[in-house]
């Protein structure tokens, strides 16, 4: 059986932001700049930006407790036909403040009935914006990895 070697991921951007609410806007702008020219359609770029903003906001507020001295690191890679963005905080506390595997799926009816908090849409949005999401925790480092295929028209909700 012949294997085809995958090209090594090419790093397009790497930056760290202080954990200050609102800095997710800087992250999405810098990621958008890094992937410009890769061929993502405007609609797919909007989705990637929303996913990056949500992941960064969670890292700032829930991972790092909005402690400005703790950085959120964002890295952008291209690997073949995939754009990969990693967002890493130092809190390891999951998305929306709870571990991802215990995060409640938001349900509008339950929210309108007062059975769920109005908030808690972050992880749901991320999952639906990108082609895959993978979360790892190593010690204090909590990383959300977002993947979007270049050239795809549809975004598949899913998780690695």
């Amino acid at each position: 059986m012949t294997s085809v070697a995958r090209p090594a991921p090419r790093r397009l951007a790497s930056f760290a932001l202080p954990s200050v609410p609102g800095n997710e806007r800087i992250a999405l702008a810098q990621v958008a700049e890094a992937v410009a020219g890769l061929g993502l359609s405007p609609g797919r770029l909007d989705k990637l930006k929303t996913a990056v903003a949500e992941a960064t906001m969670n890292a700032i507020e829930h991972g790092n407790d909005s402690r400005a001295e703790l950085p959120v690191r964002v890295e952008v890679f291209q690997s073949g036909t995939e754009v990969i963005v990693t967002v890493t905080d130092l809190g390891g506390r999951g998305v929306d403040g709870v571990p991802e595997d215990r995060a409640e799926v938001p349900d509008l009816d339950r929210k309108l009935n007062g059975e769920q908090d109005s908030r808690g849409w972050g992880l749901f949005l991320i999952r639906h914006m990108v082609d895959a999401m993978h979360i790892t925790t190593q010690g204090d480092r909590h990383t959300v990895r977002l993947m979007m295929r270049i050239g795809s028209q549809d975004t598949r909700a899913g998780e690695d």
Binding site: G43, E54, S118, R119, F124
Partner: protein
């Protein structure tokens, strides 16, 4: 945000800039103004929307709960394709009727 009466029992809330959790005081103030004016139908104009995040969606859910309590109907227009898709994903579009433009929203609100 700006509230304007649009004839009949409808009020239009012109949203400008960001819709995030931080927008809650401003949007709720706009709601209270429309409510004081006796609006039964609240039309959200998203043409001036620059950015909305999950906190803003949560805030819209709170807005919707208030409107439901007062038997007020909610409509929206001016959403970009991206935010329209987010409304569909979250099912907000089932509770907030979405129109392409203000004229459609108001003519339907009047019917």
């Amino acid at each position: 945000m700006h509230v304007r009466q649009a004839g009949g029992d409808a009020a239009v809330i012109d949203i400008q800039g960001d819709v995030t959790a931080a927008s809650e005081p401003v949007l709720m103030s706009a709601y209270e103004q429309a409510d004081r004016q006796g609006a039964r139908r609240l039309v959200l104009n998203f043409r001036g929307l620059e950015y909305m995040n999950s906190g803003g969606i949560g805030m819209l859910v709170t807005f919707l709960i208030r409107a439901n309590r007062h038997n007020q109907k909610l409509a929206a227009f001016g959403l970009s394709d991206h935010y329209r898709e987010i409304f569909e994903l979250t099912r907000l579009d089932e509770a907030i009727t979405i129109y392409d433009d203000e004229q459609s929203a108001l003519s339907d609100a009047a019917s």
